[in-house]
């Protein structure tokens, strides 16, 4: 074990070392991992870390930090070395957390019920009535079976004496469950042998208990949904991930509506009842009518539906009251009063400043404590945290603190600064140790609370007190709780043997989700069409085709780019005169720049709509989106990419775009998801093709064969044309191939035929769906093309225009746009809410 750095000093500093005992020997439950790491070739660990990081990136595991200007999503930081917990330690942790969950639930029952704890003075009434998240609208409302907390989390750290202390708890909307699961997926794949040998407890059974127990509380049939604040929430990845894993619809507030005291989900087919809401939206935002009046998130009327007992909300609203640091000071008494039990895990020593004694005590110890708002449960030193270190205060600030607690002592606590136990990190072939915090989850079941045998460990980036909030760069670890007996290998991904009903489609299709998929397809297709045009121009600028036979770069730019204001007229005229410098620069900007109409903005719209539809995309599809929209992803064919020139980049985008559409075509079942992706893609492609035909074939020019070849090139139909007609470039066959041929996937008619087929599948339930006549509209547009005569379309008038072709294109374009609007109105509109 030569590569274990000596750490004997830590316990002398008052820290517990997870890896080494007092004598400096590796503790038994770490020995296997240590020898396995030690046996690895020098680069092996680094390779595994890189491959795990790649997996995290490609799976889109992110943690959003709201106020980071650099972009929405920050990559989830994972340290692949698992945190190993011995079977006996785990048993102790599990009993302690179970007790806490049970206690927290009992407190909430009392707080929102009889309030005996307050009336008997076990808990000062201040801690409830002063709590900003004590929801008065819920007073006297008993949730089904009296369950307030369906999912609970506690943050634990080891003290010097080896006991676990509770540093924070979450009873309202605990986060981290999805990240814990994703960490497990990645780490167990990174060290499959070790994972198998060690006898690590599996997580799936816990999730099943959680889901089934909540669903079991529901009255009547209905959807089970997961309510998220939306794609901008910091934990949105987790919401999308959990909804998929647990088989729930992912919804936002305005997907839900309350009628007759029941909650309904807006779907393609109208309103459908919701009986269970797994809530990931903070309580006070859950009903903008009765709770926070400054928000329109949430579901107006939800509180009324809860009062009526018509929906299970997990967790029940208002749970934050038990998370306040001030309550920590009273928990031992509460446990005795309610259960006659002693706490199995204590909180960090806390003094509430609401009493004369507390104020004096706080002032006496403030220099070695931290000061917090009594009700502030946000992670220590995170962005919203009120925590300050007493040691950092100037004399003036200290006097200010004394005045603060004299006036409003009830709103302050001081808490001891407790050194956190340290756990190993493996870096550069050696172990080092860092402070570690362990988040453990408990779920309610009819038989009592059960603990997830694992969790989310966070290891500090450095040794400071401030280092452990996820916001400030700590890394997470998978938690390997070792089993005392055989391992339960049940997996939610592999259903148990019980027979389940065969279904051919899910009828759950929330309008918003369909809207996201529709626009994802439209943006992706629009990006591909833009790339195809740009590639034709760039190819000619590079001068490596027989451009004499087709059109020049300038001519192409004039037809396709100037009208869309992608390049300036000056660049166009310069290029016509033989000076391509400005055109080159502007094209480069369109491809790589940040301008509003540029390619990069279009790709980022693809990424954003895909993110919003995250729960409906397979991992492979998500990875294809990631590859398409991230410029620095290595390609499957790295040699092509090495040039990093515009042409190589555009070629790569075409390939990746094909990969994305191919995945949708081949891997998605033909349900509503696929339907709206396909509609979006067909509509956008038909519009692009109309544009292409108009600019190349509708107006005759001197070098008609050149224009035809450009059209065929951009529409990827040159091979077919050559196969059918050799090198005879004439307008009627080109019109036929690009406009009328229902067999060419890049012809307008092909798109329209597909649209007609798709539209026929749309539900016809609501009034707006019936009056929209989408079917008739789609068939009408298709008939325009279907009945057109190719020779009539090719006829030229005196002005050398093709009026019949121009008219048909206008009709088709208009028809498609109207159809897209009708579909939007009848199926995709999620109506916006306002405050009256």
């Amino acid at each position: 074990m030569a590569n274990i750095a000596p750490l004997f000093g830590e316990e002398a500093l008052g820290r517990y070392d997870e890896l080494l005992d007092r004598s400096g020997a590796v503790r038994p439950h770490w020995q296997r991992l240590v020898s396995s790491f030690a046996a690895m070739a020098p680069d092996e660990y680094r390779h595994r870390m890189e491959s795990a990081t790649r997996m995290v990136r490609e799976n889109g595991v992110t943690y959003n930090v709201y106020d980071e200007a650099s972009g929405l999503a920050r990559l989830w930081e994972l340290d692949i070395a698992p945190f190993v917990v011995s079977a006996s330690d785990w048993t102790a942790i599990a009993s302690a957390v179970t007790q806490r969950a049970r206690l927290a639930n009992a407190i909430l029952q009392d707080v929102y019920g009889e309030q005996r704890l307050l009336r008997d003075g076990v808990v000062p009434a201040h801690l409830v009535f002063g709590h900003p998240q004590y929801l008065r609208a819920l007073q006297g409302v008993r949730p089904p079976e009296g369950v307030h907390i369906h999912l609970y989390s506690a943050d634990l750290a080891r003290s010097a004496d080896g006991s676990w202390k509770v540093h924070a708890s979450r009873a309202d909307s605990p986060t981290g469950l999805g990240y814990a699961l994703e960490n497990r997926v990645v780490v167990s794949q990174t060290f499959p042998e070790l994972f198998g040998e060690l006898g690590v407890q599996r997580l799936a059974t816990f999730f099943r208990h959680y889901r089934d127990a909540v669903a079991g509380l529901a009255h009547g049939s209905g959807h089970a949904v997961l309510l998220t604040p939306g794609a901008y929430n910091e934990a949105y990845f987790e919401h999308a991930y959990l909804s998929r894993y647990l088989g729930l619809e992912l919804v936002e507030g305005d997907d839900l509506s309350v009628r007759d005291d029941n909650v309904y989900l807006r779907t393609l087919g109208g309103l459908e009842r919701v009986s269970v809401i797994f809530r990931r939206l903070d309580s006070n935002f859950a009903d903008p009518l009765e709770l926070r009046a400054d928000s329109i998130l949430g579901v107006p009327g939800l509180v009324e539906a809860i009062r009526a007992g018509n929906v299970v909300v997990a967790n029940a609203l208002g749970g934050s009251v038990v998370d306040s640091p001030a309550l920590d000071a009273y928990l031992p008494n509460v446990a005795r009063a309610l259960f006659g039990e002693e706490l199995l895990a204590r909180d960090i020593p806390t003094v509430w400043c609401g009493t004369a004694w507390g104020r004096a005590e706080s002032l006496a110890r403030v220099r070695r404590s931290m000061i917090r708002n009594a009700f502030d449960a946000s992670p220590l030193f995170s962005r919203n945290s009120s925590a300050r270190l007493g040691a950092d205060l100037s004399d003036e600030q200290l006097a200010q603190f004394a005045d603060d607690i004299e006036r409003r002592g009830a709103t302050f606590v001081t808490q001891d600064i407790v050194p956190l136990g340290v756990a190993p990190m493996f870096e550069h072939g050696a172990f080092s140790s860092r402070p570690l915090m362990l988040r453990v989850f408990a779920a309610w079941t009819p038989a009592g609370y059960v603990v997830m045998p694992g969790g989310l460990a966070r290891i500090a980036a450095d040794d400071s007190v401030r280092a452990l909030s996820m916001q400030s760069g700590a890394a997470s670890k998978d938690v390997w709780a070792l089993a005392a007996g055989p391992v339960d290998t049940f997996s939610l991904l592999r259903p148990p043997t019980a027979q389940i009903e065969i279904r051919r489609s899910g009828n759950e299709a929330p309008s918003r989700a369909m809207d996201n998929l529709f626009w994802l397809a439209r943006y992706a297709e629009r990006a591909e069409n833009t790339v195809r045009v740009l590639r034709a121009v760039v190819t000619r600028l590079a001068g490596d085709t027989g451009s004499s036979t087709t059109m020049t770069a300038a001519a192409l730019a004039g037809r396709f780019l100037v009208p869309h204001e992608l390049v300036t007229e000056k660049a166009f005229f310069d290029a016509l005169d033989g000076d391509e410098a400005l055109l080159r620069k502007e094209i480069d900007d369109v491809i790589f720049g940040d301008q509003v109409s540029g390619l990069q903005r279009l790709l980022s719209r693809v990424a954003h709509t895909a993110w919003a539809a995250r729960d409906r995309l397979s991992i492979d599809t998500w990875r294809a989106v990631y590859a398409l929209t991230n410029r620095n992803t290595p390609d499957d064919a790295p040699d092509v990419f090495e040039g990093t020139g515009a042409l190589a980049y555009l070629d790569m985008l075409i390939r990746r775009s094909a990969a994305l559409s191919g995945l949708a075509a081949e891997n998605m079942t033909r349900g509503n998801n696929w339907l709206f992706l396909d509609l979006g893609r067909r509509i956008e492609r038909a519009l692009a093709l109309c544009d292409l035909v108009r600019h190349t074939l509708a107006v005759a020019n001197e070098r008609e064969s050149g224009a035809i070849q450009v059209a065929l090139e951009i529409a990827d139909s040159a091979m077919t044309y050559a196969y059918r007609y050799r090198n005879a470039f004439q307008v009627p066959p080109a019109i036929d191939l690009l406009l009328l041929d229902t067999g060419n996937p890049r012809a307008v008619a092909f798109q329209l035929k597909a649209i007609v087929r798709d539209v026929a599948e749309l539900p016809m339930k609501t009034q707006s769906q019936q009056v929209g006549h989408t079917k008739a509209q789609a068939q009408g547009v298709y008939a325009n093309v279907y009945t057109a005569d190719v020779y009539a379309l090719a006829e030229m008038n005196a002005a050398r225009e093709r009026p019949a072709l121009v008219a048909l294109l206008a009709e088709v374009e208009g028809g498609i746009r109207r159809l897209a609007d009708t579909i939007g109105d009848a199926y995709l509109q999620h109506q916006r809410r306002f405050r009256a």
């Binding site: 009434a125 201040h126 009535f129 009046a293």
Partner: protein
Amino acid sequence: MTKYTVRHRTTYSYESDVAYSRLLAHLVPRSTERQDSLSTSVAVAPKPVTRFERADFFGNTASWFIIEEPHAKLEITAESNVAVTPAPAFAPEASAPWEAVRATFDPPVEPGAFDVLQHTFDTLLTATDPDVVAYARSSFPRGRPLLACILELNSRIHADFTYDAEATDTHTTVKDALELRAGVCQDLAHVGIACVRSMGLAARYVSGYLLTQPPPGRERLIGSDASHAWFSVWIPPFGWVDVDPTNDMLPSDQHITLAWGRDYGDVAPIHGIITGGSEHEVDVAVDVIPS
């Protein structure tokens, strides 16, 4: 005792049809020690599919209306009959020193006093900060009887703040109003509440009405053409004492109480969430007629 008929009409006009509205209103005057709420009728057009009333946490009557037919205009008219007795004359020197009142909020607090206790804490709209403390402090010299503190604070707010309906809206916080030194009755009440709470004392928000036509020979009060707001402070041995900073006075029988809570958000005359409709205009007309 003075009897009044109050007519309170709120009209929303929307640019396009609203598909669905859900309203939570506090339009039924509560009965208090000095006020009998005799009758109230609330008319809503278009007709709600559902309407019901329930006492809220603070004992006010809250009314819910759900409208499901498309509408471009929504009118809510409440008509109430109330009888109000004048407030007694409170002698400032008879009130307890403010520090002694504050000390009663230390534990143990009797269950009967929980209701008062909850009004010592900040809310979203009345959040305090060092500026609020600095503003409040000069009215609270050591040992001064609480009512004397409050009377002075009330006069200072009245003198320092410009009544300006354009300066603020219903979401304006105390911090904003204090910076602007301007606002409407709601903002002035919030400032007063925040000042009192910042000293560790209890204050609550009161929503109500003012007599619109003053008795002969007396001035028409500010805010009398719409609903009004003031605040109330817990002052032993008197109990809750109403204070109106907009008019620098202690309300008596020209003020009619609708509802009270921790801030405007608890007792807004009408909260509503609409689906569709986009831009809208609101018109509020209040008539208070002695009867």
